[in-house]
Assembly symmetry: C2
Homo-oligomer: 158 residues x 2
DNA sequence: CTAGCTGCAAATATTTTGCATCGGA
DNA sequence: TCCGATGCAAAATATTTGCAGCTAG
């Protein structure tokens, strides 16, 4: 990384951390040292680190932090929309239907619904330079949110 | 499900099972009772079942099947391209960059690479009726394959 | 026959939780 | 002060592996 880029990123980083603090306050999440350090670590990384990897990195600056705090923090950050979880959480699910289609995945109950492209709709747009990373074998497109059933259940409780 | 649809599916199912057998032979994978039953179960389900759920269903017909056979079979089927794994396997990875972008995920080493849409490229096409399933919070688009590094490593070994 | 597959059991890996204590607002 | 967050330890969940016997090709 060139020095100039580094400076750019540092400027950017400060702003992102301020935005993070503001968002925490909005959501009544406390701005703790641990959360700041976890966010800082993630914001500086381009490696899409796992919880374990974040833990290892944060530990260098905060030797007493625990792995479960990292897990809890990443989850609450995800919920707050501050970080993005690549892939799905935990349990794998399978589909034997190989015709091109996508999925709606409920982030509350984990249910998976098929979404078939509409009749006559243009196919999924694949970036032209996609093969510069490697050989693509398949495509996974998920729309994640709260399914109707969970929304209805949440509505009743209130 | 209406009776007519059921019949359609059964016809379709037979053909799919034959295709599955042929594909197994092509790949030097043995066509065992367990594999057939696992594939049949998955092909008949629209529930995107987990390994555990497949196990429970298959067990009703083959009480002696073991969970690890289900895991092994699902993995080999995925590798053969017969079934699709929704989400990623095992370890979760995180990204603090919320600008719209996608990921190339290596199915061999698990590495995640960012893919930013090209300048001026049309945005990702979202199905119009997407909200009929629920409220979409975010979109996860992955291109899965073998990354260049793994391809190079595999090439050397040969 | 025999390489690949299965079942069993045990090991790993990953993530979550209860509880006492601590610390931000 | 007070309630949410943390650290520790232990549990729960999900997946993988070694090995001996079984079976499809």
């Amino acid at each position: 990384m060139c020095p100039h880029e580094q400076i750019e990123n540092n400027k950017d980083l400060k702003a992102r951390i301020e935005a993070f603090k503001a968002l925490c306050r909005n959501r009544a999440l406390r701005v703790t040292e641990q959360r700041l350090e976890i966010f800082r670590t993630l914001a500086q990384s381009k490696a899409h680190p796992s919880a374990e990897a974040v833990f290892a990195a944060v530990r260098k600056k905060m030797p007493n932090i625990s792995l479960d705090t990292v897990y809890r923090t990443l989850s609450s950050m995800e919920e707050a929309g501050v970080v993005f979880r690549v892939g799905l959480s935990t349990k794998a699910r399978f589909d034997a239907d190989l015709t091109p289609h996508y999925h709606f995945v409920c982030i509350n109950c984990g249910e998976v619904y098929d979404i078939f492209p509409q009749e006559g709709a243009p196919a999924l747009l694949v970036p032209q330079d996609i093969n510069r990373f490697g050989e693509v074998k398949n495509v996974n497109l998920q729309f994640r949110g709260i399914c109707n059933r969970c929304r209805a259940a949440a509505g009743k409780k209130k």
